[in-house]
Symmetry: C2
């Protein structure tokens, strides 16, 4: 049945006509704050400040049941084919990011799951042997794009406080020539490892970056084979182990945006933070996987409950964006990773069930920054602007460094938490004022995620929370969260532009006839004009 | 007259019912691409890929006239009081960021403008004398929040390629204790300058950070007076010149989000990049100021035309967000600065003219990242998602380093531009496909901003473009873009939480009775529970 035909959808549509008003007298009470909480592993969600009441909650629970989302989560984790769109040619793949962080396989597991767990274990064995061999290296450059680095960066920056070896890591993450040059200015090639990440082994930008680096090594008469590490799938064009110090594998069932759990994350993170932190992180992921799959009460299943609150705000209260705002400096890189996770997974318009175009909203625009920075920036708009923005605040009770002076009677970590709680309450309650310029309408929905400390385990929990939040929303919306056909058209057109640039600027005939040649040419004219003007 | 009562508003509402479809046969032609361009100073805007035709353009021009936006821009630049809301107690201030980058004053200038230009010049004289005195320093820590650092960071990172002195700069930009500790681990205090930025001289977080740093200097027996520089307003509580190596001034007519043009930007940027780059940047700003004020044809006035296209997409085509996507690695920090500029300025709900609540949309949610990163991330959603996102692409014809290998027949900079053009065209044209999963609806509005090279002058132009884009939209929407009352409620509530934390966790009675004490307490219970659980 279509999302919009479900009984729960009709009920929620009805309820959304007159949603709970958080500013109503005696609505937001201490009892409500106590009661509206979900605890799961190292995390606790406080959602009294969401615009829900028991009727809305009941309908959301019903929605999760009618859409069979827990059954689909089990299919996913059992590695059934979940990356497909019926009636459309599509990738038709299994999805295995939960499998590769499973530590053991049940005897009842599917053949595919068992094989995936075993394959992941054997890469782990290679990694354990590899790390001592590269002990002398002081820096690493990871050449990877999008999913090949956003997750790794997010995790590394968040856990940097625990680094002890003083190594440096750089991401050569895009084709911009200024980026790679700025890295080359900083590193000493002789003590640097280069890690090339290319799942398909055929991405143009990666090959171009690798080539620039190979030339730099050649100039210094250093042997690439002692410095370059490859991460790719078996039998890809880049699976040429003899050309590399080591080749690690990933698999077609690991999407780029889910690849931080694979060697894509494992190699740089264990190089920087050590293997035991990496294993703690994996344990955090895996335990949240089990929670997402086996906690059958939607109101106790943290990622499912988060997903349902999100659907309420997005599809029924019609809020087009969602801000995730961590009150932790180390998490500054999460926005970009989560943008990919949420919007590449669920920025879709086609029904998985029958390939028809759907007529309900899917992924909201996901945005945000570290909280204390946002407070002095766009918070004006989320408090008094004309657009209501649902917010997820993320906070920690203790600081990472444990060094925290008491100033004016409270620690800085307490100041951080005071601000987080205050913003949540301010958005919900608002403030009436005869001065309209100081009037806060309130009833702006938000919730808080709290953990004790930002460490490898809580972070593993959190990443898997987001991955399953996204998966559950994809199930609810009946879309395929695991492909990304929407990036193909731009790629194809970029090739057309490049062919014509070759022809116009380098006097080389283009290999293939360029589609829309005249349009492409019209854009490129600007390039030519400027070049001419300059000279 | 109200925005929604203007004749042009009615006309645009009418036109929006059946907006131009960019995918229509023979609509997007080479002629259209040539014709729909605006050139101003170092920038060119290509907007053939916006959903406008000559009727829409005519109505937008009429809108700008009916809302008297050029007259208001002149008032602003003449330093009339533009920060006010009628019938509400409000800041009632002049707005002077354009004044402080004016290089000379016309004899017809207002008294206030003349005074502001003179005051800015005398700070510049101080800066020229100051720089040689601090030549021996190797690093700088800027302690500032929000507007006191976001603009500086955006500019510095974008121009880092031109740095020659190897100095390091750190921003201690929030109260998070992990942030300042991570800086203290990296810098050598003896060769470091500390720059404290506090316009009011009374921000709690800044005082707390300064205190942490003072203690660190005391521990190493270094004299703060040889290391600490203050930037504040005259007669603020922090205007105690004898306690600092130097004190620079700013003024109440410089809002935080516009302060990068003042000593707030000048001190760190000239320390890092040299005075001549700083002056080039100022020249770029000033020339765009003059363009914004004196170019009376809305279709040739770059920031005004950008603002009008934005209003068309936001208020009439009902697109709730706006993505700014630069194809230049150095501009990665612009999203955060622009979020503050756009959303703190225009995230408002009150009519400037009469203090009534308005019933039209103001600031959209502003988001984005560097383009090549976005392409491998959220582009799926902007191409095939259910939410249409207007995009501004920003690109440069040459790289900054000028080091750019030719690989497979084109340079990396050409690859970058090919991608930029391709995305613009792909969003506009779309692609029909019987496979729904490979279908791109197209007609997704966007435009391109092009300049020759990312340097101090083009960047000055660009920043002023955005500042005036925002000012023009504020004028169109009839709101006060220059205050930020929306951040006050959160601040007040944060103090309530801190008072109660002192009482509950540090056994100190709270100074004042805490409003909503029971609610605040209910949130803090979670803090207590966790603390107890842990021990």
């Amino acid at each position: 049945m279509k999302f919009t035909d479900l009984g729960s959808h009709k009920r929620l549509t009805e309820l959304a006509k007159n949603p709970p008003d958080l500013t109503r007298a005696s609505f937001l009470t201490p009892e409500r704050i106590d009661k509206m909480a979900v605890e799961a592993l190292s995390w606790k969600m406080l959602y009294a400040t969401e615009a829900v009441d028991s009727e809305v909650e009941k309908a959301l629970v019903r929605l999760s049941r009618e859409a069979n989302v827990l059954e689909k989560m089990a299919f996913l984790q059992e590695m059934q084919v979940m990356n497909y769109v019926n009636n459309c040619e599509s990738e038709e793949r299994r999805v295995g990011h939960t499998a590769i962080r499973a530590l053991e396989v049940s005897p009842y597991a599917s053949k595919e799951l068992t094989a995936a767990v075993d394959a992941a274990k054997s890469e782990m064995v290679k990694l354990e042997a590899f790390l001592p061999k590269v002990d002398k290296f002081k820096a690493m450059v990871v050449v990877g794009i999008g999913g090949s680095y956003l997750g790794t960066k997010a995790v590394l920056e968040a856990l940097k406080a625990y680094q002890q070896n003083g190594r440096k890591l750089y991401f050569a993450s895009n084709v911009d020539p200024d980026k790679i040059q700025s890295i080359l200015q900083e590193v000493e090639l002789a003590t640097t490892l280069i890690v090339i990440v290319s799942k398909s082994g055929g991405t143009l930008e990666i090959a171009a970056q690798e080539e620039v680096l190979r030339r730099s090594y050649a100039k210094e008469k250093l042997d690439v084979k002692n410095h370059f590490v490859m991460i790719t799938t078996q039998k890809s064009p880049m699976d040429t182990p003899s050309a590399y110090l080591e080749t690690f594998y990933l698999w077609d069932y690991i999407g780029g945006r889910y690849s931080v759990s694979s060697m894509v994350g494992a190699v740089p993170i264990s190089f920087m933070l050590g293997l035991s932190i990496w294993k703690e992180f994996l344990r955090g992921l895996h335990e949240m996987d089990l929670h997402a799959r086996y906690e059958t009460d939607p109101k106790k299943n943290l990622p499912l409950w988060g997903a349902l609150l999100g659907v309420w705000n997005h599809n029924f209260l019609k809020r087009g964006t969602f801000a995730i705002i961590p009150y932790a400096q180390g998490m500054y890189a999460w926005t970009e990773h989560l943008q990919q996770l949420f919007m590449e997974s669920n920025g879709k318009s086609v029904s998985q069930k029958d390939g028809s175009f759907i007529d309900w909203q899917t992924a909201p625009v996901l945005w945000g920054t570290v909280g204390t920075e946002g407070q002095h920036s766009y918070y004006q708009a989320i408090h008094q602007g004309t657009q209501v923005v649902p917010v997820e605040f993320v906070g920690f009770l203790e600081s990472q460094f444990g060094l925290d002076d008491e100033i004016e009677g409270t620690t800085n970590q307490e100041k951080l938490l005071a601000n987080l709680f205050a913003q949540s309450l301010a958005l919900a309650k608002g403030q009436k004022d005869v001065n309209h310029n100081r009037y806060f309408s309130g009833s702006r929905p938000n919730h808080i995620l709290l953990a004790n400390r930002l460490d490898a385990y809580t972070l593993g929990n959190l990443l898997a929370y987001y991955e399953h939040y996204v998966a559950f929303q994809g199930f609810l919306w009946n879309i395929n969260s695991f492909d990304q056909e929407g990036v193909q058209l731009g790629k194809r057109l970029a090739n057309d532009f490049l062919e014509l640039i070759k022809e116009l600027h380098h006097d080389k005939p283009s290999k293939e006839p360029v589609k829309d040649r005249m349009l492409v040419h019209a854009f490129l004219q600007n390039l030519k004009n400027y070049t001419t003007k300059k000279s």
